[in-house]
């Protein structure tokens, strides 16, 4: 069953109603956006459950078991619980800033999916600056972190917000550099073009030695830091002294930050899949199934990291990024450029 064919059919149906083509396009895009949004909301709920089960089995215990078969309704129960919590605002908090921070985080997380290909032909809009757009949008989360830290009117939140903003900014650079290495090789910023240049399995960028695996590893490390996961989860660590930027948030606002974090994790996994693992390419199964398999595989790897490694101290984290990842990333980029231009390893 080809999902792309279904969408195409619906689009034809809409176009045949005789509305002006601009309006048809807008309605079609709106519909696609709504579909993607609903899909992602479900994915976020699923990911929360998956995280709990994966962490539980790594620790040789069961995880949620009571709410439904193996606890699959647990996230719904948690969402209902969060919905009914009191929505507190600290005294003397900066109200507009405090109010808009989780919303910006949430919107930024979801907006990146405009340009991510879920399968062959399943992309909301094939921008020809695809990957650049995605990176620009995911950088919005820094603004929301700073807003949350400032608006909470608590010195701990401020410190936590500053630290996490510093962390995210300093790991944007290696992430962009590793992405650029792939872009140089693919010759285009468009996500669909990048996927199509990996038509065969040996053409996947992760296998294109020697720059591919290095770019992949740099990307994974930077992505873990971007999404504030261990070993880079200083902003969220309860064991540390300063509790992080979302300490004053409760109820639905907290739920927005929480969901935004999981959606971000899915985003970086989707980008890793598209850029390094061949996107939706694969034999036999439909393209969107391959995409989901690969993306959930990457999500699983991120979860595995979280439950195995201790966390780095803030200054060690920054040192690692600026003194190690950035030079390595630049060297890798130069290598990739040279490989592309000289024709070596260019299969």
């Amino acid at each position: 069953m080809e999902i792309a064919a279904i969408f195409k059919y619906l689009y034809e149906l809409l176009a045949s109603t005789g509305l002006p083509s601009m309006l048809v396009d807008i309605i079609a895009l709106g519909f696609a956006a709504v579909v993607v949004f609903l899909f992602l909301a479900l994915v976020a709920l699923f990911l929360v459950w998956l995280e709990r089960k994966v962490s539980a089995h790594i620790q040789q215990r069961f995880g949620p078991m009571r709410t439904g078969w193996h606890g699959w309704i647990q996230t719904v129960a948690d969402a209902i619980k969060l919905l009914q919590k009191e929505d507190t605002t600290p005294a003397n908090a900066d109200h507009p800033v405090f109010y808009w921070a989780p919303i910006i985080a949430f919107v930024a997380a979801f907006m990146a999916y405009v340009a991510i290909p879920f399968g062959d032909g399943l992309i909301v809009s094939d921008l020809n600056i695809g990957i650049l757009f995605i990176i620009a949008i995911t950088t919005f989360t820094i603004i929301s972190l700073l807003m949350a830290g400032w608006g909470s009117n608590s010195k701990y939140a401020l410190l936590g917000g500053m630290r996490s903003a510093a962390q995210v900014v300093s790991y944007e650079v290696p992430m962009i550099i590793s992405v650029l290495a792939v872009v140089v090789f693919a010759g285009s910023l468009s996500m669909v073009d990048i996927v199509e240049s990996q038509a065969k399995i040996y053409q996947w960028y992760i296998f294109r030695l020697p720059f591919g695996p290095i770019a992949f590893i740099i990307y994974i490390i930077a992505a873990t830091a971007e999404t504030n996961r261990t070993p880079f989860d200083i902003p969220e660590a309860e064991q540390e002294l300063v509790a992080g930027f979302n300490v004053e948030y409760s109820g639905m606002k907290f739920a927005m930050f929480f969901l935004a974090e999981f959606v971000n994790m899915f985003t970086v996994s989707a980008i890793a899949t598209t850029l390094f693992l061949g996107g939706w390419q694969g034999p036999l199964l439909p393209s969107w199934v391959w995409f989901l398999i690969k993306t959930f595989g990457m999500v699983f790897v991120f979860m595995w990291f979280r439950w195995t490694y201790p966390r780095l101290r803030v200054d060690q984290l920054m040192e690692f990024s600026w003194k190690f990842l950035v030079p390595l990333g630049f060297a890798n980029l130069i290598l990739a450029g040279w490989m592309k231009s000289s024709g070596w390893f260019n299969w």
């Binding site: 962490s55 790594i58 620790q59 040789q60 215990r61 010195k155 261990t230 070993p231 989860d233 200083i234 660590a237 309860e238 064991q239 540390e240 002294l241 300063v242 439950w307 195995t308 490694y309 201790p310 966390r311 780095l312 101290r313 803030v314 200054d315 060690q316």
Partner: protein, 368 residues
Amino acid sequence: MSELRTQEFQINMGPQHPSTHGVCRFILTLDGEVIIKAEPVIGYLHRAIEKICENRTYAQCIPVIDRFEYCTSMSSEMVFVLAAEKLAGIKIPERAEYLRVIMLELNRIASHLIWYGTTSLDLGAITPFLYGFREREDVLDLFEMTCGQRLTYNYIRVGGVSRDIPKEFIPKCHEFLDKFQGKVDDYERVLTENPIFLVRNKNVGVLTPQMAVAYGISGPSLRASGVKWDLRVDDPYSIYDRFRFEIPSFQNGDCYDRYLVRIKEMRESAKIVGQAIEQMPEGDIMAKVPANFKPPKGEVYSRIENSRGEMGAYIQSPGDSKKPLRVKLRGGSYNQLQVMPELVRGHKVADVVAIMASLDIIMPEIDR
């Protein structure tokens, strides 16, 4: 142009904190991220154990002393009972001595497993905590089948031990010991060479041997600084001179060495338990102690090597009474908490947690 001045500010690492190993409060004075001064505030877990003991007979004191250091209850009971036996000049039957050693060393393993779990939890790796507690369940099952409780045992009594081991104990203990070395290898694989763990712990909280001796620190923290001092070997009590075991010690005195010392100690304790089970004779488990136990007048101090250092009990007996006149207990964590402000100076906030975890400070020993 005046130079840029930063202002120091104080933060309270309060008694309710996931990483202070009990209820310990620190008032930290920070300059940015660097700690200038750290002041511990204690007393949140004071239960007046020493005062309570003044109104209990020696046998009734033992459940109370259990709670003095509840992570190593057997050691707490042992040190008190050793003092009482020294006062009264009681000799313990052989089997009771062996049983005591087995229980003490199993308790040491359990306590080090708690330390391992909480250390990795404080540093952010949550999984080894559950692995440590999985092994601890086996040890606690052994205790429960012998004396009936998992944490506060009321097992070591004046004159011997309260009950003999049931017949399931030795096979289960062998089963535990057989798989334990493999499990400790697993723990090491997750943490010991992990670069993140190394960079968090190497050269953090360096305790020089002179400072350690000056502050009266004992136990694994002392041995990690290069001073090879273990009461089981240097001032032997009970029958420790009959067992072959190594005393691990390292040179640097940083958090990483303290970690290595305790991991090695877990392995050595397992060896001691194995040897004790082999050598244990049959016999009585309790000496003939009079029902109204009234030790003669005098005072005595006895000490043992606990998993956290030297644990001591000082008992003053008035002579013709079933109750002690004064009981004073000494725990190793007290000295280690005293040295903490020295150690954390100049480090970052996140290191307070790492240093406290590596020194293995727990509050019940300090506050009593």
